[in-house]
Amino acid sequence: MITASKAKTDSKDRIFFFLSGILLLSIILYSYWISPLVTVAILTSSLRQSTPLALGALCGLICERSGVMNIGIEGQMLLAAFFGFLVNVWTGSLLLGVISGIAAGMLAGIIFALMTVSMKMDQIICGTIVNLLAAGLTGYFYPTGINATGKLKAYSFPFLSELPLVGPVLFRVSPIVFSTIILVFLVHFLLFFTQWGLRTRAVGEYPRAADTMGINANIVRFYNIIIGGFFAGLAGAFLSLEAVGVFERGMTNGRGFIALAVMIFGKWTPIGAWGAALLFGLALAVQTQLQFDQVLSIPHQFTGMLPYLITIIVLAIFIKRNRPPGSLGVPYEKK
């Protein structure tokens, strides 16, 4: 009954995913056997680089599952990264930094919700507005000559981190990377097993039907956008407070948009999106490794294309049409 409610995955896809999963796993195990250090390095890096994408995708997914198309994630991330960093500098507390980063993400969400849900403005336009606004504000008010006070560091779980392979990869990680993994599964659970999830999906598919059952589609959309903002905010905080440690103008560098790609790739399901994000992160890490090892002496521009090419190929050849939520992009007006 759960699968039924998800965007349809036809059996061919499932087989493909299953087989490629097996294949990938065996490759990883093999390379771990050959050179454990490098393998761990690659996997750690993949997980790390997939984090902002996965979080961004969660934001997009929660909005879109309730029928709101959010292309403003990039901007939400940027704002979050900015405020998170500022607060961290002012208070000297990374925790406060992260919290206010999240708050900023949600605040941007509220603005977006006011425009899309309350004012029924076109959702693509609202997303673009958020992006412009974020770029403008963070650039215009960019504080010169203030300096970071460190960043979130990796934490090793006792015992667990000693396990081979999974230990260093999964249990010697920095907080946001780790919590992302948990959040992915949490959101998946919430989306498919709880009242909130059922209503969210109903509103996304057919808001009128939800409305006749006494569910106020617009309210659902409103708070879902804000919840989405939480994840975009966390992604931003990750960039400025965990990954880098400082804020720089435009430091999101299009990750918000790749997150959208990842979300669609994952067929609007959290775990699917996470898988897509991991694949993307893996491709990024692998291309770096190819440069490290100089195994093949081709210009780095080509190895650099790897992640993008893989995405297109997988999408074009293996995955059939992705079906978005039915009411996506349409402001809901009562009759």
Partner: protein
Amino acid sequence: ENHAGCGEKTKFCIGLVTDVGVIDDKSFNQSSWEGVQQAKAELGAAIKYIETRDAKDYEQNIELFAENNYNVIVTVGFALGEATIRAAKKYQKIHFIGIDQFQGKPVKNLVGLVFREDIAGFKAGALAAMLSKTNIIAAVLATDMVPPVAAFNRGYEAGSRYINPDIKIISTFHPGGLDISFTDPEWGASTAGQAIDQGADVIFSAGGLTGNGGLIETATHKGKYCIGVDTDQWDTVPAARACLVSCAMKRISPSVIKLIKLAYKNQFPEGNYYGEVSLSSFHDFEGKIPQRIKNRLLEIDNNIQSGKIKIPDYE
């Protein structure tokens, strides 16, 4: 408007045009500007800068100063090379300083302030090779399309090999286009992380914000060293102090001041002016670095001066 009255005997005006990017890039825009600011302090000059947003605006931004009869115009970055030459030919009376702009055929009121990044890189490489215990060192680089970065890298590899011919150098360029390769700290950081995780213990991180990301990341790993570029990033990137042994510096500010003063005294040179390059002081690591390494670096320095060491030059 403080540029009123520029051009009169009594007033000495200096303008600076950045490359696409921001003045406080903790890198060469910033250190060029610091040079100009010092000139203000010493010569009481009126100073002003314009950040370029769009490569199409180089010409216009330079002209904004020229039209207001500034005495010296500093243009930062090789990308402004052509625009600067054209401006110099058009405004004969104004002195132009083109940073990182190698002059093919000299123009009399324009000097290209250039640096031997390969030498700085060589020293950095030597230092890295001597510091490394794992015999794996890494370089995190913005792009190979920008001559200075490429030169840094060439020197770095040569220098480390000079110390230890079979050292493993794992180096990467940013996979994206030139437009983001200098402004992607996240990539710099995660790449540095990936290098460290596979045993690299010295990271040479070169290229604007991307490089800074690499430095800061390295600082979060115990017992690893990182080497910065361009300025003494001890001051510009404090977050990296935990690992920052030294920086392959291009002494931009002092050279800028020197050239401005020459302009002030009307002894402005033409063609190319080679600015000084060197390793910055070791700061907190002063005590930790054994004397023999320091001696070795001095010896290398002399050998380069005397030409005993040849660095493979531009391809």
